[in-house]
Amino acid sequence: MAEPGATSAVDTWTSDEMMTVAAARELTNGTVCFVGIGLPSTAANLARTTSAPDVVLIYESGCIGSKPDHLPPSIGDGVLARTADAVVAVPEIFAYWLQSGRVDVGFLGAAQVDRRGNINTTVVGDYHSPTVRLPGAGGAPEIATSCGRVIITLRHNPRALVEKLDFVTSVGHGDDPDARRRLGLPGAGPQTIITDLGVLRYDRVVNEFVLTSVHPGVEVANVVQATGWRLLVAETVAQTVAPTGDELSALRRFAGS
């Protein structure tokens, strides 16, 4: 985790801002990062404009090394192409850049995630008669397959962090610690889940995500209650360093411009 810097924290920030800042801190300089729409793009660009100026952002629209000066509302805005080191076709971005194993970190959102980091972005309810039809897979299954590691971000509630997924769109650690090897998934899979309440890290021994950090103002009990499975809690739970003034001003400048 990057040092948050010496600037003192400020008092007012939203839990979404805390989540974004915590995600940005996961990226160190030089990391090659496959960036999805929304929070991942915000977090990666926050890292790029603060602690990790040489982070490389790859967008599935084919933009490699984009350096946008404002937050693009989609993953295919003109600013991403204009500021990229290279722009390539979409088949190439998935074959030559993602599948090849060149990406260190993939960011994924989720409608549902389970204790092993498996992800559902397809349906709530039965597939053939869904309660809520979600957008579907997009780039996620192969991001989960091929990135060096995956960071999952989502808002924490029992309908999102669930005991059992309605549909497995993207594989985290399957059902057991050996599942990825058995399925031929080369990346290490999800290692971190960052929510608006805290940070969960994958523990290979118990083969599930364990609460390791709570955000300022959040109690461990809150997080346990907001989780749909019996959440394991680390022996020592840290308190996430609050967003610094530098982080917040960079985030707000970037998102607002």
């Binding site: 993953i75 192409a81 599948q99 397959t145 769109t169 080369p186």
Partner: protein
Amino acid sequence: MARFTTLSAAVAELIRDGDVVALEGFTHLIPFAAGHEIIRQGRRDLTLVRMTPDIIYDQLIGMGCARKMIFSWAGNPGAGSLHRFRDAVEHAVPHLLEIEEHSHAGMAARYQAGASGLPFGILRGYAGTDLATITPTIGWITCPFTGENLAAVPALRPDVGVICAQQADRDGNVMLWGITGVQKEAVLSSKHSIVLVEEIVDSFSPRTNGVVLPAWVVDAIAVVPSGPYPSYAQDYSERASSFYTYWEPISRDRGAFLEWMDQHVLATTNHAGFLESLDRELVVETHG
């Protein structure tokens, strides 16, 4: 060999009821004007193919043009759901929509296979997912050299591929640049193709990620300025992000949706008419 024509004539001639049609575009250069024209001409039973179906596919579905959709991510990027798509899948409104869903990597491999004249493409993906269970067009293949098991997906070969490009030259060659998505593959995998361009130029300039499609792989070219609106054409316009949020409440309500489609699509005769029918502030900031 490319012929210059109107969009309306191109749709009338090349797209038939029951066709498999790919209107491709990856955020950039989405052929909205072509989707509207398909709606105006009342096509039915289409199989709609696209990696990222967005508002224009939602409109085609809501207006009852589609029998099936083949896709990998269906949403209103940055704004929310495709409510007409959801209504079709969740409640069979206006009628049942068959779906065949893949991941982006799988769809890209399918287009590549189609453009390459191969029956299938391969990728490392789908293993362990429920997609592999519910989508019959996901298969498996073993590497004859290493024994690794990989996913196989059948080639896409749409009847008609429709894309937007920035320019055509007078010989009918087409050029697009910036984010070019799978548009080259959509044209090269399709039996016929329609290209909407911003303008006709005497000659092309080199561009970042410039893609030129020679005239002889294109069937029809129509000059439709701002044809991608509310999407955009790099160096001609900006993405009208406000339209995507404006659309969210309209699409949520089927009545409001139908009224809007009546007023802005069915009651207009072409894309210029459509653009004129919109509130000026929705258009002018991004599309001049």
